[in-house]
């Protein structure tokens, strides 16, 4: 089962909507609640990162019998140093984004903690791809 959602950079009023939709689908498929909770955290953080840090992107979801694969592709500034970005507390979020409660530098660490496989690739001034894999059986 495959579907995709567009994500608009800077549109904080809709941030998390795509993740909420996917969570509903996962529930309908009777995937274990504990696994859905972990996927929800990870995809929300990845979705918000596109909103907060990139210009626009797409969330691609592929639900297979044994795993859920979610890929975020964005056009944006890219990530200069992925190891640094993965560190808890590191954030380049702007002041206005911080005032809404983002920018703790906990998003990527949250993703790492909640998926089985995390793959990030990025080209500076071009964009970032984040791939999340969660095994469900």
């Amino acid at each position: 089962m495959e579907f995709e959602y567009p994500i608009e950079g800077g549109d904080f009023t809709r941030a998390g909507m795509a993740s909420s939709q996917v969570k509903k689908v996962l529930k309908q498929l009777n995937i274990a609640p504990a696994i859905i909770k972990r996927i929800a955290v990870a995809m929300y953080e990845a979705e918000v990162n596109v909103v907060a840090h990139a210009f626009k992107g797409t969330m691609l979801v592929n639900i297979m019998p044994d795993k859920v694969f979610i890929k975020f592709i964005d056009e944006g500034p890219g990530i200069h140093d992925i190891d640094l970005a993965m560190q808890e507390g590191f954030s380049t979020a702007t002041e206005s984004v911080r005032q809404m409660g983002f920018g703790a530098g906990m998003g990527l660490p949250n993703i790492k903690k909640n998926v089985d496989e995390l793959q990030i690739s990025s080209v500076v001034n071009k964009g970032t791809t984040v791939e999340l894999t969660t095994y469900i059986s």
Binding site: K37, E45, G101, F102
Partner: protein
């Protein structure tokens, strides 16, 4: 404990979600950083925060929190309330600070 009991005992204002007060409260989580809540709050907890923008609803919904409790008399915007109703997240409000209301909520839950 039911949310309705929390609302009554702590004298909270219900901004929206009157129909959801039968939700079960398992505890509370106090934070104004959304990723902190995403990473550490648990299902069924009441979330105490000063954040009022629309984004708090997606967090509460994805984490299946029992309610959002705005402290220090903060008011959510119209959009936040509309999204909360849509997503089925009760928004509560108190004039007390997070420190004060968290203390009272903690005692209430501990005694139950």
């Amino acid at each position: 404990m039911k949310l309705t009991e929390v609302v009554n005992k702590l004298e909270l204002e219900v901004i929206c979600g009157e129909d959801l007060l039968e939700n079960t409260v398992t505890g509370g989580y106090c934070s104004d950083l959304l990723s902190d809540v995403m990473g550490n709050a648990q299902e069924g907890q009441v979330w105490l925060t000063i954040q009022v923008h629309n984004n708090i609803i997606a967090v509460a919904s994805l984490k299946e929190l029992s309610a959002i409790l705005l402290v220090k008399g903060l008011k959510p915007g119209k959009e936040t309330i509309e999204t909360a109703i849509q997503q089925g997240i009760p928004i509560l409000r108190t004039n007390e600070t997070a420190f004060e209301i968290a203390g009272r909520l903690y005692n209430l839950i501990r005694q139950s």
